[in-house]
Structure formats: structure tokens, C-alpha cells
Symmetry: C2
Subunit: 339 residues, 2 copies
Amino acid sequence: MSGNDFGRRILAGERLALARLLTRLENGDPEGQAALAELYPHTGRAHLVGITGPPGVGKSTLVNSLARHYRQPPDGAEPRTVAVVAVDPTSPFTGGAILGDRIRMRDLAGDPGVFIRSMATRGALGGLARATTQVIQALDAAGYKAILVETVGAGQSEVDIASAAHTTVVVEAPGMGDEVQAIKAGLLEIADVLVVNKSDLPGAENTLRALRGMLGLAHPVRRGANSRSAGLAASDAPIWITPILQPVAGSGGGIPALLEAIDSHRVYLAATGELAGKERARAAAELEAGLREALMHGWRAAAPDGAFEAALERVLAREIAPLAAVKMLVAGEFARRRP
Amino acid sequence: MSGNDFGRRILAGERLALARLLTRLENGDPEGQAALAELYPHTGRAHLVGITGPPGVGKSTLVNSLARHYRQPPDGAEPRTVAVVAVDPTSPFTGGAILGDRIRMRDLAGDPGVFIRSMATRGALGGLARATTQVIQALDAAGYKAILVETVGAGQSEVDIASAAHTTVVVEAPGMGDEVQAIKAGLLEIADVLVVNKSDLPGAENTLRALRGMLGLAHPVRRGANSRSAGLAASDAPIWITPILQPVAGSGGGIPALLEAIDSHRVYLAATGELAGKERARAAAELEAGLREALMHGWRAAAPDGAFEAALERVLAREIAPLAAVKMLVAGEFARRRP
């Protein structure tokens, strides 16, 4: 299947072609790249929603509920197509992403307006971030109106992936003693919408109080706005006040309010020009990452055989420091292995 | 203070010089690099111990207890010098690493055989990993016998930092329902020693049972070894069986057993040649990361003014895909801004 075929078939709505392209993008396959280059002009229409939080807070259930509400909105609104990208760490113990896919699919299977994809943490971090970016672009070009990117974890990488979205939803849950995990994980500062999940569990009130207090600290200049109503404050220059929502994910309660907050954040981004700023930052980061990759690739192709290994041996012998070895490599020394 | 001074003063045991060098390394300062190049031949003697796990499991308390036992071993053994490197996500809400430093210092302050350093997640991931590597090298050269690298979190970056150590201790705690966080976070497969902390809390037995089951799954070929005694199994070709320990961190109970397991893993690494393999992998990763950085730096210096921005504009206009733009940049197109 050539790049041309992928592009044409995906734009025509063929799910199988899309699924195959995503696999190629995950594997870094050159044909996948060619197809993506063709699809790229069709990107830029989806609302990218990142959903992140510590393990165990119920993100997957929340994402499933959200996806259902995109498809079956209340009050007779128009259903929107939705794609879910779940970025899961792979574990040899549980089967990781694949198992997750099956569990998810059961719930939303058969709806052609929903596309679900789990991505595993394979090898290098940079690889995962790049593959995720490309998978999102393919889904965007394929016409999904909302793309929910779910990332497990408290790690910088997952935070980076989630915060590359237009709207970032941070999910927290009561429990773990008096400690609010999102703080330690540095998640709070990237939240556009904050969700306290499982709010029927004991401790929910304490968690809420702690989060409210910390958001207050984070936004000391918000006094001018109507501090009682979170979300999009009406004024000449709109201000976004991070709302704290408490859906009970299992029962679907509060999910419409969450969807409303997400939509309202998109309106805010467009109204203030922040959307364009986010797009620019994201494209610049992608260009730079690609450039680094290409430069390394070019260096490997041009470097004399064994140069890297010769440098490595001298570092291991502690004759030279790693950065000194790098300078020598770039300067073209280590032209051949020492005999 | 020149590179020469740093090196001489640090090798002479001056703590202030060491602290200053670490700050320079964190900031990517060139003088810091020069000093590190001088210190590099003195590295390679410390035992690097990574300690990681989800937020809230009590890693900091455990690390403090461990540090005390390195200094005051039972049975009249020789005290060993110890450095603690805590890699904390920065949060504008809590002050992050700095606050942590103060709390820690109170406990172990005044002991010249202990050096504690907290590092914040500043800016790019790559930057933090590189700075952490360099800080560890400086502490190693300064003569600390054990370097405990504590990383918060379930993220790939933190996992990478921890698993670059010789011995990786993964810390888990009971709670969070029936979910063992370490699995979701992909931490279990990097554990050389597994700690179930807070084992006086309810649920500890369930957590232990789950972890034992999963470790069994992870190591199906271990039947030949004595499956009852974890740690270093006595045989011609030593096998390492990941021990599961349950110290109660607050009271210090079980810490000597943890220290013994850590020491025993070091013996195992040396006996099997795995230590040399780990050192090689780590040096290769450091060389490659440095090379990527240097190539990007060189490209920026040589590229025509505005080339990157011109490429970015065309990507934002969706005229070309990011990877196509990268190829054009590497090929030297975008020689000047289009009028």
C-alpha cells in the first residue's frame, strides 16, 4: 500500500487503512511518513484533549464516559466523532496496551464514529512522543472532531504529551493519606480542567479543599474575575479559571459538565489567540525533535567506521570525559580504531 | 574559580566547592564541564543505587534511613560516606526541590560524610537526565562510596534515571485499592530489590502477594535456583533473585536487611561481569546524548538566519509536513526568509 493509497483511503474514511497507518507510524516506517506528509494539509481541525493523572485514579473509565458523551450528547446536540489515544507503559507482566485495548473496545465497539488506539512505551522516550504526535495528526486528518489523549503517570514525558494538547484535563482521586499526588507529580500547573474522580470515596472533601487552596495560590491575580464561577469568565479580555469538577465516573454523573468545560476551554483558546500560540509551540517542538533525529542519522552515515566505539573505549578507560569525547567525535577525530 | 581549582578543591574534600560545581553542572555552565572533565578519571568507585516508585510511598523517609545506616552500620562495620541525589519535579505551588532539601538537611545535617542534593525538573527532560548524570559523576569523583539517586514518579524519564544506577530499588506501598501502582508504571521490570514500604498499613499482605505472583511470572526460568532464598543465590554461575523486603521506614525496622540486599547485589554485579556491561551501556547512552546536543548546536551555528522560522511558518500554514520541513532544513533549503 503506497503513501498515495493510504492518504486517499483514510480521507475516504477507511478505518482499516487508518489502523494500518498508525501501526506504521508507531514503527517509524518510511512509507508511513510519506502518507502522513500527504495527510498533513488536512490536519488542524480536531480539538486535542489531554487527560492525565497518577495511576489508579480512574482515567480510562472517565475517558470512556467522555467518548460516549461526545457520541450521545444530551439535549439533542449533534454527535461528534471522537478518537482515543491511550499512551500506556508496556509491562511484560500484564500485556500492557493490548489488554487495555480489548477491555476498552468492548464498551464502544461497533460505533464507526469512535476510534480507539493504545500506544505502548517502546524503547526511547523521544520515539514515543514523536509517534504519539504523528498518530494524533493522522487521526486529525481522518476527520475525528475530538481526540482524547490519555497518558498514565506522573512522569515528565507523559506530562509533555498531555500538555501538547489544546486542553489538558488533570485527574485526581481521594486517598493516599493526606497527600495530593498531582502536586508531587507537577501536574497541577498544566491543568486547564481539574477533575476529582471517585468523589464518592471517603476523603474527597479533603482532596477538594487542598486542590482549591493550591489553585488559589497558583492564580493570585485572579481577583478581578468573578471568582465564584470557574471556566470562561465573561469580560472584554477573557480569563480562564481552572474549574474543579467531580464526576462519578462509573455512573456517568457529571460527565456532561466535564464535556461542557472542555468545550468552553476551546472557545476561550480561540477567542484569545492562545490556540495559535499553542499550535506554534507544538510545531516548533516537533520540528526541533525531527531535526535532532535527522542530524544524528546524518552523522552516523558520515562518521568513519568504529569512531563512536573508539571514543566509548577511551571514556570507559576514564582517559577522557564523555563531553570531551563528544567534542572530538564532532571534530572528526577517532578516524579509525586504534590498533 | 577555574576548572583547575574546582578539581583540586573537590578532590581535597571541600564541600563548598562541590556544591558550587553541582550548581554549575545543573545550569550547563561551560566551566562546570571543564572541571568535570578533570574529575572524570577519579570516577567509577561509587556504588550507584537508584530508588524509585510512585509518589506517596515514602521514598524520602526510606532514603534518609538508608543514609543513616550507611553512616552507622550495625555490628561495628566501617561507616561509608553517602551522597543523596533527589530528582524532584518542580512545582510552583510547593517550592519543589528547595523545600525538600531543607526538610532532609535537618535530619542528617552536620555529618561531613553525608552530602544531599535535590535537583528540580527544569525545562527539557534531556537536560535533567544529563545534569543528573554529571552530578553523580562529580559526587563519585569526590569520593562518596554510595550515591543514592531518588526519583519521584512513574514516568519513563525517572525510570531511565533510576535504572542507570548499578542497583535499582523499587518502592511500593499498600493501598490504592487492588491496584499495584508499580505495574502500571512499568517499574517492576527494573527492580533489583523490591521494597513494600509502610508494611504496617492494612492491605500490605495483598500487595505482597500480588508482587510475589508477578515476580514469579517475570522470572519463569528461575526454577533451577533455590527459589526460597532471594538475593544472591550460591552457585557456579550466580543468579540474582529479586528480594522483596518490608522495612517500616519510620521506625528504621528492616533497613539493615535492605542495605545488605543492596550490597549483595553489588557483589553479584561484579562477580558476573554485569557491572562492566552496565557501565558500558551508560557511557554509550551519555556519549550519544551529548553527540545529539552537539550536532544540534553546530547546526544552529551554521544555519542561515531565519531558516528554522521560515520552515516553521510553512508547517503552520500546513503547506508541508514537519518531517518534510526537517529534510529541507538539513538539505540547506530555507536559505533566507521569503519576502
